[in-house]
């Protein structure tokens, strides 16, 4: 069971417990003062929402602390010469993501969307990121290209962007991996 899933279940559990309390309150106070009960319900609901928010922040901080966090994003600029099918991502020789793109997802990237492909942790030091792009190139030919980035991870978050764009002069796609400053 993933940690994210566990956190969600904790939040659901807390919600159920608090709603259970509301249920008890309804039985006791229902006959006496509906207005007060309504206020209490509202304040409990707000408490649940607040708790939910705090748990999500805590989850983010615990799983991906700012000092070790690495995020990889994907964007597409035009993309006329390449129909994206999948991206395989390796960090220091280890596969961390292998993502298949649907038509709808490719459409969203064409419209300017940016996708978070990977979120993980890396220690301070030198690292290598390899992205392998698979799809259809010019003239509907199967196309597979890799792009590599050697980068230095310092203290603080690291953001990397994979961009697919067109090289108009060569009528070929171009794959760029770059650091976000």
């Amino acid at each position: 069971m993933g940690n994210t899933q566990m956190f969600k279940q904790i939040v659901c559990g807390l919600t159920l417990i608090l709603l259970g309390q509301i249920g008890n309150a309804e039985t006791v106070g229902g006959a006496n003062d509906l207005a007060t009960l309504d206020q209490e319900t509202q304040s409990l609901k707000n408490a649940v929402l607040e708790l939910n928010k705090e748990l999500f922040l805590l989850e983010e901080e615990l799983l991906y602390p700012a000092n070790t966090q690495v995020a990889v994003f994907v964007s597409m600029d035009v993309g006329e010469y390449f129909a994206l099918d999948s991206i395989q991502l390796e960090v220091d020789g280890k596969e961390v993501s292998n993502y298949l793109y649907t038509e709808r997802e490719v459409g969203a990237l064409h419209r300017g969307g940016v996708q978070q492909l990977y979120l993980g942790n890396l220690k301070v030091g030198e690292h290598e990121l390899v992205a392998i792009f698979t799809g259809k190139g010019p003239h509907e030919r199967d196309y597979k290209r890799g792009a590599t980035l050697q980068f230095s991870k310092n203290i603080g978050s690291k953001f990397v962007e994979l961009t697919i764009s067109d090289q108009e002069n060569q009528l070929q796609p171009e794959f760029v991996v770059r650091n976000w400053e």
């Binding site: 069971m1 566990m6 279940q9 904790i10 559990g13 807390l14 417990i17 608090l18 259970g20 309390q21 099918d85 999948s86 993502y99 298949l100 793109y101 649907t102 038509e103 709808r104 997802e105």
Partner: protein, 168 residues
Amino acid sequence: MEKITAQFLVFLFCLLSLSAVGASSFSVGERAPDFALPNLAGKNLRLSEYRSEVVVLNFWATWCGKCSDAMPVLESLYEQHQGAGLNVIAVGVDAESHKAVELINAADISFPVLTDDATKTVSRLYDLGKLPLTLVIDREGNVRHIHKGFSKESGARMMAEVAELLAE
């Protein structure tokens, strides 16, 4: 407040115990694990993109006789309720997808058929034990019914379950 804390701790303990013994990857009432796979034409489909529609997800193989029996029932279900928001998705787990293509063409199947022939990631995700495995998934993406194997009775039950979910 102390009571709430105690209840929370008990809940947390149960949760951690469950995760420690390695609970099944999904069960009735839980969100169906998301995945993307290519169909027989090479186009990728993602399960979560069918959210807001009822989905019948069927795992099958060409060497499984009961799977072939289930196909006409699934096709009839799809033809009957497609307009009302039903999607049938079959995931073939054969090692070679060309066998699946032959069978699907012969059976005149119109719903999407995906292949999990390369890495078997999705088969592992759904912990396939017995084939066919059919899941009835509601509009929220939660597994509502699980059918392991296939019989005329289970086919009829599936039809009733789908009709009920479409009416929700």
